[in-house]
């Protein structure tokens, strides 16, 4: 069983197998994303309170979900790499970090664009935006540590441990920021914080969430392949690959 895992988690095997998967993920992400956006931007009903400007949530909310989801994936992969010494897991973690940071950044920007019509200011210290900002710092810390340590193995292990420590802290940070926010904001709870959303709004939201996940899958495969090629550049399978071209 262990040998089987070792074989299937070898970068060489992964590189060969992943090539076929990427187009599937990419195309389905595109199709579902376009459909979801269409539903969200044109078909979903106008909001009673906010008019048309609420529609940015169809990008903002899935982006925020992805930022957390990718951090979890990153931490779990790094944990697998740390505990069982599987190099592919380290590569997936390293490949995921910039994607997660980008989604976090997207969530922040769309949140700010949403904030202007809703609260009148581009930035307000509400719970979600503040949490996303802190999450962005956690991503930056991970990426900075990775690039600061020269030895690849140590860099992976060190940033992996940091990611795990971050994962433990995320609930604490989230709870603290929520609590801090209720003190200072009072009861400006928007309709979308509660799960009672109109079904015509919920469906595009979920479709966008699925589309983003598929997009992540496609991009992380591409980036992990790059990581594999770069890290194994001195190994035989990469050199053979280059010679064949």
């Amino acid at each position: 069983m262990w040998n089987w895992i070792q074989r299937f988690s070898s970068p060489k095997y992964f590189y060969a197998m992943s090539a076929a998967l990427i187009p599937w993920f990419a195309i389905s992400a595109l199709l579902i994303g376009v459909y979801g956006l269409y539903l969200g931007l044109f078909v979903a009903p106008t909001d009673y309170q906010q008019g048309e400007s609420y529609r940015i949530i169809f990008v903002h909310v899935p982006a925020a979900w992805m930022s957390l989801f990718i951090y979890m994936v990153m931490a779990i992969s790094a944990g697998i790499g740390l505990i069982w010494q599987i190099r592919l897991a380290d590569m997936v973690a390293a490949a995921s970090a910039p994607i997660g940071a980008s989604f976090t950044f997207l969530a922040l920007v769309t949140g700010m664009l949403w904030g202007k019509p809703m609260w009148g200011a581009y930035w307000v210290w509400d719970a979600r935006l503040t949490s996303e900002l802190i999450l962005l710092f956690l991503y930056f810390g991970y990426m900075a540590l990775q690039s600061a340590i020269e030895d690849q193995r140590s860099a992976d292990k060190a940033s992996g441990l940091l990611a795990i420590v971050g994962v433990v802290n995320i609930p604490i940070i989230h709870y603290s920021v929520e609590w801090w926010n209720t003190l200072h904001q009072g009861a400006t709870v928007t309709k979308f914080d509660k799960p009672s959303m109109h079904i015509d709004m919920l469906i595009p939201l979920l479709l966008m969430a699925v589309a983003f996940k598929l997009f992540y899958a496609a991009v992380v495969l591409v980036r992990t392949r790059n990581e594999a090629l770069y890290r194994d550049r001195n190994r035989r399978w990469v050199r053979e690959l280059i010679e064949r071209m």
Partner: protein
């Protein structure tokens, strides 16, 4: 009655900076044996010693103490081995006496002042007990480490370039310490660039012969 194998290395493989340094390394050590690790610069001698100490993880293979992997046997292994590397481990603000005591404390060894003084005398630091580390030459700092090794009650000595910074008397001292330790039933693994004239039976393992520098595809 075969001599018990106290320490063993099996199929050890070491990778550094994505370069394979050595693989398939096997050797074992019984009591009263001295082993020299030889090899050119950069061939992995220090990495090997650090793997043996458990400070570094090997790519493959295992290190066994009394038949058990050192990962699972850590407390017993560390109680019975001592390691000195390139760095002197001496605190500038502490006196010689305090430095030795501090090194012994991490091993939970309580030793009387008189015993430490005796050991310091043996390594040529007889009147230096209360001199702070700052005032010592690098050769004298290394002698503190020698005193520590002598007092450590370790069966296995792992010495990485132990002759660093030592003068002629220091080298002779190290050699005699190793011979005495061996006679008392202890074992030593060491590396050195200088030639050590050891008046006893000695084996050696040469690195840079195994492995061909190319990493496998897995």
């Amino acid at each position: 009655m075969p001599v018990s194998t106290m320490f063993e290395v099996q199929s050890l493989e070491c990778v550094r900076d994505d370069r394979l340094l050595f693989s398939g390394l096997n050797f074992s050590l019984a009591e009263s044996e001295v082993l020299q690790i030889e090899g050119a610069n950069g061939c992995g001698k220090t990495s090997l010693l650090r793997i043996i100490c458990g400070l570094r993880l090997a790519e493959a293979g295992q290190v066994l103490w009394q038949g058990e992997s050192i990962q699972s046997n850590r407390e017993d292994y560390y109680s019975n081995m001592v390691y000195i590397g390139h760095l002197p481990c001496v605190k500038a603000e502490l006196t010689v006496m305090e430095n030795v005591r501090s090194l012994l404390d991490t091993r939970s060894l309580t030793v009387s002042d008189a015993v430490i003084e005796e050991a310091l005398a043996k390594v040529g630091l007889a009147t230096y007990e209360d001199v702070t580390g700052k005032a010592l030459s690098s050769g004298q700092r290394r002698r503190i480490l020698l005193a520590f090794v002598a007092l450590s009650r370790a069966k296995l000595w792992i010495l990485d370039e132990p002759l660093t910074a030592l003068d002629v008397q220091g080298v002779a001292l190290m050699e005699s310490m190793i011979i005495e330790h061996r006679q008392a039933g202890g074992s030593v693994i060491f590396t050195t660039h200088h030639g050590m004239q050891l008046d006893c039976e000695m084996r050696s393992v040469r690195l840079g012969g195994q492995g061909n520098g190319a990493l496998s595809d897995v």
